[in-house]
């Protein structure tokens, strides 16, 4: 049986003069920016500044301000015990909770003990492939231009660079013509628009998936982000949430798959405008939604934070440093759990089938995996997040290579009746004269033994 325990190491000290000067800023954001160069920015560490209860740095009603790096400003309140509880809470939000670790281990926790949310985040992988697709079902009416390369360079690359610590990312894009959604939207007279209800959304993806070409991509998990420009006859198209109201982002996503956004084209000023209309896609608006979906697919949601927390928006970087840590903690634990299961099951397989031949490189991969996972576990217990994560990644690579080596296929099971069926026709005729001769020998020796007594 395996279990995961966690602890937080807290060190307390009073502020230095420089920090005091930085904390004298007008707003929390400026204070955070000023404090950033004075902080310890190793992965996995957090710095929390406790400001007096009456401080004006934090707005009314807000007790904690979480910056976009690895620091937080916490308002002191009441007793020391209350402060300690609050600091614990902040530490948990910014690194890991029991829930987030359990979610990382979701395939090892028995069913029924986890909330359904736990199953939806992307599994830890060595790389991800991101595909942006523009779907134009009506090229006769719309000529859609999207500057995807520019948008990727400006908005997506900063986020992926920050995430490059977690995995390798590769990005591609494509345009698909005459690709329709699988569902016909309903016309709503009141808003004179077309609506897609929530329960028809699951059926939208399948007809499109066949054309996305994800089978030509790499062996890494593929994340698809689709931008759909509705046909002229179905414009404008809005997605309804379960209360019937149109969704502000006009987008939805599917766990472990990707997201779809509907981009409505404004109707032309005059009804006799010449077709096809030229459409220049506002890539910033589109990327705001896609990057939000990317965050949600990875599990970086900001919904479960208590209301008295104020979270700084990470801006163009897409995710805050502490969110990156959050991801790394979860992925490291997940990697270590995966490696231990893989190696255990490999050992069980080899025990069961005694005559599998282990090649030298498989053996060396196993040794490497064991060494790496032991190092990862030690480093994780010391809190060296970066080193632990790298070690866990190496362990996963080695253990997967060892487990999935093509030479470990066992085709050597022979049921007992097959063994009899093969050997008996061969050995039975051969055995008959042998057994008869044996009987003869036994009889002769017995006679010879009796003879001396007879001769006397």
């Amino acid at each position: 049986r395996s279990s995961v325990t966690s602890r937080y190491e807290m060190l307390y000290r009073s502020t230095t003069g420089q920090e005091e000067a930085a904390l004298a800023a007008a707003t929390a954001r400026e204070a955070d920016a000023a404090l950033h160069p004075l902080q310890d920015t190793t992965l996995g560490s957090l710095t929390m500044y406790v400001v007096p209860e009456t401080s004006s740095l934090l707005p009314q009603g807000i007790n904690v301000y979480v910056g976009k790096h690895r620091s937080a400003l916490v308002r002191a309140g009441g007793s020391l015990a209350a402060l300690q509880a609050r600091l614990q809470e902040v530490a948990q939000v910014m690194s890991f909770t029991a829930g987030s670790i359990a979610a990382a281990l979701s395939d090892r926790v028995p069913d029924g003990q986890l909330s359904p949310d736990a199953r939806r985040y992307l599994k830890s992988s060595l790389g991800y492939e991101i595909t942006f697709s523009l779907l134009n079902p009506d090229p006769k009416s719309h000529t859609v231009d999207w500057d995807i390369e520019g948008a990727v360079n400006r908005y997506v690359k900063p986020v992926l660079d920050k995430l490059s610590l977690v995995a390798n990312f590769s990005v591609d894009s494509q345009i698909l013509y005459y690709a329709v959604l699988g569902v016909t939207p309903r016309y709503d007279k009141e808003s004179s628009s077309f609506l897609l209800s929530t329960h028809s959304l699951p059926h939208v993806i399948n007809p499109v998936e066949a054309r996305l070409g994800s089978s030509a991509a790499s062996l890494y998990p593929v994340l698809n982000f689709l931008l759909y420009v509705p046909e002229r006859s179905h414009s404008p198209l809005y997605i309804q949430d379960k209360d019937g109201a149109p969704v502000s982002t006009n987008a939805f996503h599917s766990p472990r798959w990707g997201g779809i956004m509907v981009y409505n084209v404004e109707a032309p000023a005059s009804p006799h405008a010449s077709l096809p209309l030229h459409v220049d896609v506002d890539m910033a608006r589109v990327m705001e939604v896609f990057l939000a979906q990317l965050r949600l697919l990875f599990g970086l949601s900001r919904e479960e934070v208590p209301p008295e927390f104020l979270l700084e928006s990470p801006g163009n970087e897409g995710l805050a440093d502490w969110e990156l840590d959050h991801l790394l903690w979860a992925h490291t634990v997940e990697n270590i759990a995966t490696v231990s299961t893989t190696l255990t099951s490999l050992a069980q397989l080899l025990d069961k089938i005694g005559n599998i031949v282990i090649k030298d490189d498989v053996a060396s991969e196993v040794y490497r995996a064991v060494a790496s996972v032991q190092s990862a576990v030690t480093k994780l217990s010391l809190g060296h997040l970066h080193a632990a994560f790298q070690a866990s990644k190496e362990a996963v690579t080695s253990s997967e290579r060892a487990f999935f080596d093509p030479s470990l296929l066992h085709l050597l099971y022979f049921p007992d009746d097959q063994k009899f069926a093969i050997y008996i026709p061969l050995f039975l005729p051969m055995a008959v004269p042998i057994l008869l001769s044996l009987a003869k020998i036994v009889r002769e020796t017995r006679l010879r033994k009796k003879e001396p007594t007879k001769m006397d």
Partner: protein, 363 residues
């Protein structure tokens, strides 16, 4: 609405895969290919894309020289339904359908050069449908008339898949003679199995077509197909209805099923959990706020040096190493155990019977 939301998450899978295997070759086994292609067609219609289907057909019926209607495979007499169609994507064809390849697909122990369409890239949230058809017997299924897969090997392969969490839930359907023997040995969790006949019974074929000259479908799959034609991607039909398909009066054999390894109640399992691909979706309620004034971004990380001259094709392979590799010396091991004992017995009896003095004539 809360109930529907509960239902949504109850199955816990996020993607669907299908592995459809026809193991028989030769023209008179037309019905097995038609079986497999009919299931393929249903599964595609209900939403599983080709990239998530591994289709293995042991012989080519559509372009077989004996096919009076080339490029078609019919599943109904009077040539009503052509299941071959325009967009069939066969991943393993003809002699590639072997026990070894099948086990490699299931366990994932595939050589690195295998293309993506030939791999089963499922994860721990995949529901997999495995359909096998062909000629079988008590505890085995015949592949290509030359080899067999036993129920123990199949159970072990599923256990390997479970160990590596390559499936969330698995539905195994087999349409062969004595099909129930193939699922007897399963021991991994979350597997549900259906078979067309019990041990000791034969599965029978449905109807011959006089124009084509062979039997077109097997009974069990024929009635399963009729059942599936009623299913559409949003239907709520559950597995208990699938168990009732093809009673003894229609099928002559008794179909069997096994659900003891499955954690959910079959009542709550939708047909589309395995045959279709209904995705869980969530409305995106958040956005990231981006600063639009940012100009083109220079990557902060140092870029790797690119190779300055393109490699020739031959240089990518260690050709020199491969050509000059000497064959490995096989180590000689003395014979052990049974063989040694047998030879010792034979020699001992020989010399005892004929006497030691004859030895000089032997040597």
């Amino acid at each position: 609405f809360q109930d529907q939301a509960e239902q949504f998450f109850r199955s816990g899978h996020t993607n669907n895969w299908a592995v459809l295997v026809c193991t028989s070759r030769f023209w008179f086994n037309y019905r097995h290919v038609a079986n497999t292609l009919s299931v393929y067609r249903s599964v595609k219609r209900l939403g599983i894309p080709d990239s998530h289907i591994v289709l293995m057909l042991a012989d080519d019926m559509a372009c077989n020289p004996r096919n009076p209607k080339p490029a078609t495979v019919f599943s109904h007499k009077n040539m009503e339904l052509n299941v071959y169609g325009d967009d069939v994507e066969v991943d393993y064809r003809s002699y590639e359908v072997t026990v070894e390849n099948f086990l490699r697909v299931l366990t994932g122990r595939i050589p690195p050069s295998t293309p993506r369409s030939k791999r089963l890239l499922s994860d721990d949230r995949s529901n997999i449908l495995i359909y096998m058809t062909g000629h079988g017997g008590n505890g085995f299924l015949k592949f290509q008339d030359s080899e067999e897969i036993t129920n123990v090997e199949l159970a072990d392969a599923f256990e390997q898949m479970w160990q590596k969490r390559r499936y969330n839930e698995l539905l195994f359907i087999i349409d062969t003679c004595q099909g129930a023997s193939m699922y007897e040995r399963f021991y991994s969790p979350n597997i549900m199995a259906l078979a067309s006949s019990q041990v000791g019974e034969d599965s029978l074929s449905h109807q011959p077509d006089l124009g084509i000259g062979v039997h077109l479908m097997d009974r069990y799959t024929f009635y399963v197909l009729e059942f599936l034609e009623e299913i559409h991607p949003a239907s709520q039909t559950n597995m208990n209805d699938l168990f009732q398909v093809c009673p003894k009066s229609l099928c002559v054999s008794t179909p069997g099923h096994r659900t003891d390894l499955f954690q959910r109640d079959p009542q709550n399992v939708l047909i589309t959990d395995f045959f279709g691909s209904v995705r869980k979706v969530e409305i995106t309620a958040e956005t990231v706020s981006l600063d639009r004034g940012v100009a083109g971004f220079e990557s902060k990380l140092p870029e790797e040096e690119l190779a300055t001259e393109p490699l020739k094709y031959a240089e990518q392979l260690p050709v020199a190493q491969i050509i000059h590799q000497k064959p490995k010396q096989k180590d000689w091991h003395p014979p052990g155990g049974f063989i040694l004992g047998l030879w010792a017995l034979i020699i001992m009896v020989f010399f005892k019977t004929y006497g030691i003095k004859h030895m000089k004539h032997v040597f």
